[in-house]
Symmetry: C2
Subunit: 191 residues, 2 copies
DNA sequence: ACCTGAACACCGTTCAAGT
DNA sequence: ACCTGAACACCGTTCAAGT
């Protein structure tokens, strides 16, 4: 961490900004991931960030991409397309739940078309390879992702709520797997 | 609309606040649904709202409940449980898409346990009636709702983006129905 | 009990000016 | 090109004080 006020040898890069944003996200969550916090952590004025990103949303889009990129990506899976889809969904879930509010961030940025598109493209490819038509594969991929993000968002919201003293009915640990299985079984019917 | 500064005969009620919040949401969307805007529209200081709601989230939870309550609820459907589930999902989608950012709001409030729980309860009941065990029905209901909200959120985000000039690949109008069918077919496998 | 008025501690974004 | 410093136009929330 550079001391605030220290003159940097290197100019700021987008990658450096994204790195710092991820560190702040990990520490304090999305509501406190402010332009001022990022600037302060980098030893720079918040206005300097606008030289590298058009606005906060563009910055968060890059953060969403990085959350996905840093997530696990188990390769060369044994078994059929259903096992591969299950595995990829699990990886995506692990990626977004690795950071507080990660599901919220990635889901929003994906919906807005400003980041986090890789999981959609990968699942589309996987499903086309599995034999789905190019017309229906995007719909199936989105259905899968809506579940993955929705479930993760739920989980992370409950983490917040638990800290505020609100309690929820206990959720089975197999809940995620069951949901993914439901959607995959449904997709199977499209073949 | 009461003129600002007019002394009201009746004291403010929660229902009146929620009504006004919905009108503002319909007009300007969630980012501009501020405590100040609600207060101004009611001819009252923003601080007065805290006498009726603990905070903004509690107020938005009540708004989410009202969005669902005001949505359509087609009754006594012909056909099997799958038709009934399809119909209920369509109604929920219509309810949340009737207001700008409605999907975002209802999804968030539901995840936080602060509102919008009725659709979940209804779908649970419907699925238990269909023959699902009480262990797996909530998981199936959540899977369905994650898709419905995720899809609606996507649509409404694209509405925003279109206004900012961003364009997306065209989505088939049957996309929602196909997604619901995928999940319902998957749930069928649990019977 | 219900509401006012003012304050507190913040936000994202812009922009002239420096180097 | 890259960044500073200061401002602009906002937020949600709190709280003493009024009625």
């Amino acid at each position: 961490m550079p001391a605030p006020g220290s003159s940097r040898a290197q100019p700021l890069t987008r990658a450096h900004v994204v790195d710092t944003a991820l560190a702040i996200l990990a520490g304090v969550g999305l509501p406190d991931l402010t332009m001022r916090a990022i600037g302060t952590e980098l030893g720079v004025q918040q206005s300097a960030l606008y030289h590298h990103f058009a606005n906060k949303q563009a910055l968060l889009g890059a953060v969403a991409d990085e959350i996905i990129a840093r997530g696990p990506r188990r390769i060369s899976p044994p078994g059929d397309w259903q096992d591969r889809a299950r595995q990829r969904c699990g990886d995506i879930r692990d990626a977004v739940t690795a950071y507080p509010d990660g599901a919220d961030l990635v889901m929003s940025m994906w919906a807005f078309g400003m980041g986090g598109n890789a999981p959609f493209v990968e699942l589309c490819d996987l499903l086309v390879e599995a034999g789905l038509t190019v017309e229906v594969a995007p719909t199936a991929a989105r259905t899968l992702l809506h579940f993955v993000y929705g479930h993760a968002y739920d989980e992370q919201s409950h983490d917040h709520a638990a800290r505020s003293g609100i309690t929820f009915g206990q959720r089975a640990p197999t809940d995620f797997d069951t949901g993914v299985d439901i959607v995959i079984a449904g997709i199977k019917g499209l073949l």
